[in-house]
Amino acid sequence: MLKEIRPAIILLVLLTLITGLAYPLAMTVIAGVIFPNQAQGSLIEKDGKVVGSSLIGQVFADDKYFHGRPSATNAPDPKDATKTVDAPYNASNSMGSNLGPTSKALAERIKGDVDTLKKENASAAIPVDLVTTSGSGLDPHISPEAALFQVPRVAKARSLPEPQVRALVESNVEGRTLGLLGEPRVNVLKLNLALDALKS
């Protein structure tokens, strides 16, 4: 058994250095050269300032923007560090609601959101993704139906004709990868940036 101690120590150290330092550091350098934008987090700049990442959702509450899905992320309470407060789209603390199918809290939350949305647009069916929180709380996408649902509100707030806004949504729909994988979706931040660009 004693003769196994030397390889145990040496191999542990060598393999640790190879897999724990050499490999991630080399990959960081290579990735930074080949795909610099993705490696930094797919950041979007506008007028020289970072406005977000195309992969990370952010809060949109204003009527003139398309809204993302509800988010369950939180942040430490500034008054009491042992507690947390709701902080939607907190991109340094990803999490889902973790509420189960028979949760009263979940049922009440969804009911409240449905009532609000019905007032906004009574003519269309409410898409399920608009009233459910995502797994990460940072979902950058909504379904095409969820975007179309919001068209009347956004058009009204911006005094734009509805067909123009609808056409913008439709041109921002990303289809299934290879026509097969995943689901059709709309990136909310990209759509809102396109919307802002319409005016100018």
């Binding site: 992969l55 889902g96 973790n98 199918p101 979940l106 399920v128 459910t132 995502s134 995943g182």
Partner: protein, 567 residues
């Protein structure tokens, strides 16, 4: 359920079946010590490692020495990881200024990573420095995965050899596995993931000003290099708290599909390695068929349940399935499929929150883990878990006809059956025993995230996932407490080593036996009868053991859900 959904599922299965023999052939060469196309680059590195470590390439080890070498390696890995977490505040690569990890959390996490569980009681982006993520977690992802694979290979050698005293050399196996199999795949895989949008940087968290003028701190880091081995090695410990649901940890539908493939590919290939090493590939295919039957059944139930949605949603006229806790880019089918895959293998990565699954949809991951993660399973661990069930099946078949049972030319006798039963019994003891203890601990009950039967499921899931070394969670439970950290660590430890050590004892015992030629009385182990019987034994053993606990959790919750009862 949609046609395009089922096409995705079948495409997944077809690719795994196609890759298994290709990778199986390569892995067989690696573990037989033969030259491969990577040898010109890697052989010099390998030789230097052996020279420095004083490893004699011609010397093989008895199963006990092999096991001791593995355990020594784990002790060292545990110490490095624990020390890194306890000291990270004073070490470099810490731009987010994370403080040192608390002792009980560091203990739980270190046990979790050396046992290939990768349970996340820590928050990832909120707890760990970049150095801990790389030198501690990424490195341990490699080594715990490599350990699983080489132990499976040692067990296979036990079946394949006759009248042999040794089962291989742990140091050579672990070095070759890391250098020839895991690292090359991870390098290509990391570049693919970055292309899809995964960050790989040592820079600080990004401060963004949103379109509405709010501040948003975006956590980044050396994500891709860790995720590659996290998936390939069925580790599953996330860089971020939300794991593979986080858009940085799984940016696109394509990255999701490849991640699912990478969870299964090595485990599936090992069944082929088994077939090749015992001299009949059909033995490997038979085992893969048993796994495939159980897998498809699980996918069908989970996909149906999630697409059907919950009564809460249906009562409000919301169609489109249960999207709570799921990401739009994956939708229902890729979330349900991922959940079944990650718990069939011992991965534990999640791309949707299992806690928010429907009662029956969430029961499938539980059952997968309770059966011991033998459907593909953890890299290596799945194969030796399945071989334990095969030994039991052969034994039962032998009892029925009154003959000493044989499997791939080896007589299965009292010692093998006793060892297999030790492993098969240790699992439910941890899973159910600790759940029972937690259920009567008032302090533990205050940590649940959901009331009613779902709260019980959260505790059951915690110990099932820990014991099975899976690491996925019903995340509503606040498990970062002294009680859960310690009891969870015990469950992970027993779940890993009470599986490994009996499996190695079987390997040693089988290797010493003579090989017997198949006769007309030998039960054929490549046909439909054997496949059906093994599936039956797995379901009967699992069903009898776990049905009462499932009845208290998901089953009663399903009935409550149908009555639209909320808690």
């Amino acid at each position: 359920m949609t046609t395009i959904g089922w096409i995705q599922i079948l495409l997944f299965c077809a690719i795994i079946v196609a890759l298994a023999p290709l990778l199986g052939a390569y892995m067989t060469r690696v573990f037989s010590g033969e030259r491969t196309f990577l040898s010109p680059v890697l052989r010099p590195v390998e030789a230097v490692i052996y020279w420095l470590g004083g490893v004699d390439e011609k010397r093989e080890q008895h199963w006990l020495t092999y096991t001791i070498a593995m355990l020594l390696f784990h002790v060292g890995g545990f110490l490095i990881l624990y020390a890194l977490m306890r000291l990270q505040a004073s070490l470099p690569f810490n731009p987010a200024e994370q403080s040192n990890v608390a002792p009980d959390l560091a203990f739980n996490t270190a046990v979790s990573f050396i046992t290939n569980t990768n349970w996340q009681n820590y928050g990832g982006e909120g707890t760990m420095s970049y150095l801990t993520q790389m030198l501690g977690l990424t490195h341990q992802n490699f080594l715990s995965a490599a350990t699983g694979i080489v132990l499976a290979v040692a067990l296979i050698r036990g079946f394949a050899r006759a009248s042999a005293k040794t089962v291989g050399n742990f140091w050579i196996d672990i070095t070759r596995c890391t250098l020839y199999i895991l690292l090359p795949i991870c390098i290509v895989y990391t570049i693919f993931l970055v292309w899809q949008g995964m960050p790989q940087t040592l820079g600080a968290y990004v401060e963004a000003t949103t379109l509405e003028g709010a501040k948003q701190t975006i956590a980044v880091g050396p994500v891709a290099s860790q995720v590659a081995i996290k998936m390939l090695g069925t580790n599953g410990g996330g860089f971020f708290n939300a794991n593979a649901a986080h858009p940085f940890e799984n940016p696109t539908a394509l990255s999701n599909f490849i991640q699912m493939l990478s969870i299964f590919v090595l485990g599936a290939a090992l069944t082929n390695v088994f077939g090749r090493m015992v001299g009949n590939q059909r033995q490997g295919w038979a085992i893969l068929a048993v796994m495939g039957i159980l897998f498809i059944a699980g996918v069908a139930v989970c996909y149906w349940a999630e697409a059907h949605g919950t009564e809460t949603l249906n009562a409000l006229g919301l169609t489109g399935g249960n999207m709570e806790g799921k990401e739009v880019r994956f939708g229902i089918v890729a979330s349900a499929l991922f959940a079944v895959i990650t718990t069939a293998a011992s991965c534990g990565a999640v791309n949707a929150m299992h806690d928010s699954f429907t009662a029956l949809g969430g029961m499938i991951p539980l059952i997968n883990m309770q059966l011991g993660e033998i459907i593909i399973g953890g890299v290596g661990a799945g194969l030796y878990g399945m071989l334990l069930f095969v030994i039991l099946t052969i034994f039962i078949a032998g009892l029925m006809v009154g003959r000493t049972p044989e499997y791939v030319g080896k007589k299965i006798e009292a010692k093998e059956v006793k060892m297999a039963m030790l492993a098969i019994l240790a699992m439910p003891l941890m899973m159910l025993g600790w759940t029972a203890v937690a259920a009567v601990n008032p302090q533990a009950l205050t940590q649940l995230g959901n009331a009613g039967p779902h709260g019980f499921s959260e505790m059951l899931y915690l110990y099932v996932s820990s014991t099975a070394n899976n690491g996925s969670a019903f995340g509503g439970i606040t498990a970062n407490t002294m009680f859960f950290n310690i009891t969870g660590a015990v469950a992970m430890f027993v779940g890993r080593f009470f599986m490994i050590i009996p499996a190695m004892a079987i390997a040693g015992s089988l290797a010493e036996k003579k090989s017997v030629a198949a006769s007309s009385g030998t039960f054929p182990t490549t046909g439909g009868l054997f496949i059906g019987l093994t599936v039956g034994v797995i379901l009967v053993v699992g069903g009898l053991t776990f049905f009462p606990a499932l009845a208290l959790g998901p089953i009663v919750e399903h009935l409550a859900m149908q009555a639209n009862t909320v808690f």
